[in-house]
Amino acid sequence: MGVQEQYPFDVGAIRDDFPILDRLVGGNPTSPGQDETDDVDLVYLDNAATSHTPDPVVDRIADYYRSYNSNVHRGIHQLSQEASVAYEEAHDVVADFIGANGREEVIFTKNTTEAMNLVAYAWGLAELGPGDNVVLTQMEHHASLVTWQQIGKKTGAEVRFIEVTDEGRLDMADAAAKIDDDTAMVSAVHVSNTLGTINPIRELAELAHDHDGLIFADAAQSVPNRPVDVEDLDVDFLAFSGHKMCGPTGIGALYGREELLEAMQPYLYGGEMIRKVTFEESTWEDLPWKFEAGTPSIAQGIGFAAAIEYLEEVGMERIEDHESLLAEYAYDRLTDLGGVEIYGPPGDERGGLVAFNVEGVHAHDLSSVLNDYGVAIRAGDHCTQPLHDELGVAASARASFYLYNTVEEVDALVDAVREARDLFA
């Protein structure tokens, strides 16, 4: 024992809610699910890509399909009313979770990327033009980077990038220089999915607001694992995805300040988002439905709320503490191994992920060898190609942790990395 004694909650009890963590791997990957060819324990360290879904959440989704599956909003019959109440209340759960004023400020989207595109199209195309600038960071995920880059091309707005220091932190002097009176939007990643850096969103918000600009926080890697409050961060927009926080895929949320969302025109048109339609004209439904055209992801929305309730039961501060514990332990052990280059700030000031390269081993080879030991990590550019260019590498390996991961799993990672290093030596 040792580090395990510092667990902020009963990790074993948490793991019992995730049967997938007990499965074996190592066999034929072309047939889904465990079969007799699988023979090693799964060590799942790819949580920044997607997290697993606990039984209580799976049960809530199954319950919807089994007992009140129906389309929402317009139905008069009982099932539709039950589904509508559950789906609409899911917005309240999300709003409470992030400190928004109410469901009017929470739009359900497919994911963080769609939330980013919603703002880029509904706000950006209308508001941006030549002479304006949008300020991003060099560590943006492609979700924000590509979106604003392309909106910049469409509108003539300049896109600027706040530089990253050699230690993997945001250069705040550069931020102060690049955010100016022509800055219409600052779009910044809260926790970097590659460097693990926790960015000072509140300071960036202050800079943006001082110049009458807005700020959008990409919270895909922060909302799942730490307390996030939109009032504390003082952000105008914020987005995150359900599947990275124990929820299902196909659901995410956009937070927006009500007066901003009120002023924006819809991004998608169709059913469920209108109030009155004639052959000539249409008027829009109230927030947030104005931005949720078509049949929404109902089961996913309900599952999203269930996931938040699950996480809140554990406690976001405690989840943050657990992730920090594992990240620091992994950082230290990989550093001690030798021949491992880790990107981003030191272990005690990062989110729960570690991206690295092993000398002489391509990240994809590393990931293949680790897979043999049942260790699931990600290898590639993690949707931050320009950042990898800055780091001078084509790809990296990334281990990312969540509330159900253990010190023993970090040990299994380190042992497998050692084996891979020796194989290629």
Binding site: G26, T30, H362, H364, S368, V393, A394, A395, F424
Partner: protein
Amino acid sequence: MGTGSDMYRQQILDHYKNPRNYGELEDPDFTHVGENPSCGDTIKVDVALDDDGETIETVAFTGDGCAISMASASMLSERLRGMTVDELDALDTDDVTEMLGVDISPMRIKCAVLGRQVAQDGAKIHRGELDPDADRTRTEE
């Protein structure tokens, strides 16, 4: 154990650590470059033909990438010698995995076939069957 460590049998590691025909030809009949952008694998293949213009006399390659892509290019550079351009053109994915002598996991096939694709596209450009100004060879699509 799964396909991963099987993938790194001695032969693969040997070709990765000591690539054959690594370098550039002084006077190639054709040269082509290809990449897997997401992995960062890049391979350049130089091919010199016999006087008949059909038989491959020498092959050299340079590149950066994972063990699978580099070992595959190295083995291919040996295999191609003496083959005709038509025979090169006929090489398929099974031929490449057979040459490697290991099972390649589905997500890594694109690494294994990059060298072959670069050589084939280079030959097509040489014969005027592919636009040389077209996008560089990629094996991800």
